[in-house]
Amino acid sequence: MATAREVKLRIRSVKSIAQITRALQAVSASKVQRAIATVEASRPYATKAWEVLTHVAMQPGREHMHPLMTRRDEVKNVLVALITSDRGLAGPYNTNVLRFMFKKFDNYPVPVHYVTIGRKGREILHRRGKHIVADFSGIPDRPKFADVSQIGHLLVEEFLSGKADEIYLVYTDFVNMLRQNPTMKKLLPLEVEEDTRVQDFSPAAGHKAVASYIYEPDETEILNQIVPRFTQLQVFHAVLESQASEHAARMVAMKNATDNATELADALQLEYNKARQQSITSEMLDIAGGAEALAQAMAAEARKAAQAAQQSQ
């Protein structure tokens, strides 16, 4: 049994841990909100760009598709952009997305190359001896589009140069505070399906029989403008979603840690009280026992003295 003093020291350290984790929890909570707000702010552009993109790409009589939208018949190399966090203490966040990715790509039929965004993912891939083409760790906490656009730029280059025939984005989709799903998205070639959104596209509600657009300078030039930016925007979105997920996961992990620490502190407090009470009790027993022994000794002494007095009479 630990002494009361030792227990007291442990209580103090557990309580200070709880204080730190509680602070981290609060910080993460506010960061989640900010990341979500940034995703929302970039949505108008994404929606609009997608509309224009599908519209132009679906034009009847387009002779050739834009290179970034052309599916290659033979896929020889695959590039995976993996988004993880730079820092730990985020509960199962990194483990989940990594496990998800390894399940998809560990036994892939063609060579897989990686671009890592986030230190944790880079370390794991490096340890496993995977081929990392580029690494973009240290994305700031409140990323601007410019902080992320170079990633999209690199991916587009890799695709156009033929070093990769398909590019996937693996990241964590933020559902809510308690749910974050590892997700995979095909980034390139950009696939424009005959989407429901296409039907919404008409130059104005009420203006039926869509007059065809005037293009300046031409469709290809417009696609050249939009497609790479749309790709960059998708990467930007994924980074923001991942950051929101990271902070949410960290918040939950820190909440659990705070709860556990509080619980532990309570249990230790009980133990401390017990130990303290026990030491008091044993002290009391000592004193009582000592007093008893003293009383007995004195009584015996007194008896002896009385006997001696009787004999001498």
Binding site: K48, F145, A211, I214, Y215, E216, I222, I226, R229, F236
Partner: protein, 150 residues
């Protein structure tokens, strides 16, 4: 008759509202867009967007992008866009100097050289916009100021 106008960049909605006329730097020249314009898609050159409403003029810089015109709506997908009152003149001036120095140092037609050229052009547009169109006095932000959600 007003036309609805939206200026969006990748990270925020720069401005949205009604306008009487929107002038954009199109790929093949400046275009003034009024209501009931024919449907049009055009790329944008770096330059200045002018929004006219109720006789007032508002200016935004744009570094490139795409404009989509429908009879009742103009949407500008900007690579980057700022209202003239948002521009930090000192920073733009610094950016211009930096770009000019870089331009001298780098050999022509390398990637760095082209990037520096683009940066110089951006800085010049911003400086130009500030010097020509910044309201001289009174409130810096007018009623037509962008909603900054960033």
């Amino acid at each position: 008759m007003p036309i609805h106008c939206e200026i969006v960049s990748q990270d925020r909605m720069v401005w949205s509202g009604e306008a009487d006329m929107v002038v954009v730097p199109g790929a093949s020249g400046e275009m003034g867009i009024l209501a009931n314009h024919a449907p049009l898609l055009s790329t944008l050159k770096p330059g200045i967007i002018k929004v006219v409403r109720d006789g007032q003029e508002d200016y935004y810089t744009v570094t490139g992008g795409v404009v989509e015109v429908r009879p009742d709506k103009v949407t500008i997908l900007a690579d980057a866009s700022e209202h003239v009152t948002e521009i930090d003149e000192r920073r733009a001036e610094e950016a211009r100097k930096r770009a000019e120095e870089l331009l001298k140092k780098t050999p022509p037609s390398t990637a760095e050289h082209l990037a520096a050229q683009a940066a110089l052009q951006r800085a010049r547009i911003r400086l130009d916009a500030v010097r020509r169109f910044r309201p001289k006095s009174g409130p810096q932000i007018q009623s037509g100021a962008p909603e900054d959600k960033g």
